[in-house]
């Protein structure tokens, strides 16, 4: 997990005040019966923090998050399209205080399971009885050797963690001359947000269509085909942005020539005016001790989200080795947070967790400024395989892109932001 130097300097005192053993820094004067530390305030972690407090306000919850405010990945592609601003996708963490969640603005550097403490970059350690780790993804820069340095990473952007890079990529697109080529590379699945790259293509195309109609988009996809909502995206590309988008499957990026603005592929090189390279991803660094699958992802007991590698540690969200047909999505992480919160409350009260958890995924993609498509699914716990499986007969995608779902997309966003942070 990276954070910039200014954020380090601001983090200070609040963290120091929370140093010490679990239970010592209770809310409202009375000693809490237990303390849960939550590392990472995204859709998974912030939801878990809020829902633990809603279910049992006798449990102290400390959320450790380096960023000043939450910036949403969902809807961030619309900032690239020019239809939304950074302010539109930013939500403060202050809403969590109403639930009694203590937000410590700092970066977790390690989790000490012997001392039961999260160590912080700036402040003193945060003690815990259980810890929830929701770090999102980190990028596997080793897959693209020339991208190792900060200069390269500031020139060739991923914008796959909403925030400064989102605004930077928008500026690169604005600065690109009409007739230029925007190149996006997509790593082999699984990666954060399966439909995200293809939605981004739509949003950039919508911007080009209005502002730079001679420009082109080249999609270099390591996958054999569009990984989510494929026919719907392809229809949007051909009907809304005819002649603008070239899609090349089975195209694996192996490096970047930053100076020459060229993506190096297994077979041939591809030059562009704006390069947007999505590296392969793995669980965020703080979760590295809990990675058990393919050296990339964390496996958990799906009833509690407790790590298979460490007792008392729960892992949520995009960092997980997914269950069958379960996407790495915001709604899914929000749902993980709730199942985990309920289980943690049960365990800290000496009760059994729910043996029959359910998850729902709903994921919209904006294919223009107004039109959207979705994929939805319902997941239940399978006793034999001890994993979530999609309920047969449920779920599906849109029949066609439509304006009604375009309207619901922003409503979904506002409601999930409020459910996660409000």
């Amino acid at each position: 997990m990276r954070m910039d130097r200014r954020q380090f300097l601001k983090a200070g005192a609040a963290g120091a005040a929370l140093a010490g053993m679990a239970g010592c820094a209770a809310t409202g004067g009375s000693a809490a019966k237990a303390r849960v530390a939550v590392v990472g305030g995204g859709y998974g972690g912030a939801t878990a923090a809020k829902y633990i407090r809603m279910l049992d306000d006798g449990i102290e919850v400390v959320l450790i998050e380096p960023n000043e405010a939450f910036v949403s990945c969902p809807i961030s592609n619309m900032v690239l399209g020019g239809f939304r601003t950074m302010a539109d996708i930013t939500t403060p963490y202050s809403g969590l205080a109403r639930h009694g969640v203590k937000v410590v603005r700092d970066s977790a550097t390690a989790i000490d399971l012997d001392k039961k403490q999260v160590r912080l970059a700036q402040g003193g350690p945060v003690g815990f009885d259980r810890v929830i780790v929701s770090p999102g993804v980190d990028f596997m820069w080793e897959a693209l050797p020339a991208m190792a340095g900060a200069d390269a990473q500031n020139a060739v952007l991923h914008a796959w963690k909403a925030g400064p890079q989102t605004a930077m990529l928008r500026r690169q697109l604005e600065a690109m001359p009409d007739g230029g080529v925007y190149v996006i590379t997509v790593p082999l699945a699984p990666y954060r947000c399966p439909p995200g790259p293809y939605e981004r293509v739509c949003q950039v195309a919508a911007y080009f269509k209005a502002a730079k109609p001679r420009s082109k988009i080249l999609v270099l996809d390591e996958n054999a085909d569009v990984t989510s909502k494929g026919p719907l995206f392809k229809k949007a590309w051909s009907e809304l942005y005819a002649g603008m988008i070239e899609y090349r499957p089975n195209s694996k990026a192996i490096d970047v020539d930053v100076g020459a603005r060229t993506v190096k592929l297994e077979f041939g090189d591809q030059k562009g005016d704006v390069l947007n390279v999505l590296p392969p991803m793995r669980a965020g660094a703080i979760a590295a001790p809990y990675i058990t699958a393919n050296r990339r992802w964390c496996e958990v007991d799906w009833l509690t989200f407790e790590s298979k590698a460490a007792k008392g540690v729960h892992v949520l969200g995009d960092a997980l080795q997914i269950a069958p047909a379960m996407p790495k999505s915001a709604t899914m992480a929000n749902g993980h947070g709730k199942v985990c919160a309920a289980a943690v409350v049960n365990l800290l009260n000496g009760e059994s967790p729910n043996p029959s958890p359910t998850l729902i995924n709903t994921c919209y993609s904006m294919v223009s400024d107004k039109l959207a498509i979705h994929v939805a699914s319902v997941h239940k716990y399978d006793l034999n395989d001890r994993t979530f499986k999609a309920v047969p007969g449920s779920g599906g995608v849109s029949a066609a892109m439509n304006e009604a779902e375009g309207g619901y997309t922003m409503n979904w966003a506002r409601n999930i932001w409020a459910d996660t942070l409000g």
């Binding site: 709604t331 929000n334 709730k338 319902v378 395989d385 449920s394 779920g395 439509n402 409503n411």
Partner: protein, 115 residues
Amino acid sequence: MKVRAARTLAGLIAASGTSLALAQQPPPPAFAPSNVTQNGVRSMAANCAACHGTKGRPAAGSAVPPLAGRPQGELIAIMGEFKAGKRPATVMHQIAKGFDDAETAAIALYFEQQR
């Protein structure tokens, strides 16, 4: 003889193809029995909050309808219409099918009680 051998071979291939196909069929899921205790229902209903707001109360001005405080019977009827494809829907016809009648009734009662 040759013809018969060929037919037998073809039959064997067809048969083995069938059995292979059967073997490759994943077994139907063995889902845990639904949990309609207070904790179980609260957990199930929490999924609805991602779109409909925490405890079924959406953000002000939301086009997604509230669920909190609505009569159980009304919510059961609407979910039935979604399942049957009798009510216009964007996602709910697909999501409603993930819940059986007992689960739907329990979730509907939970939302009726959120006032």
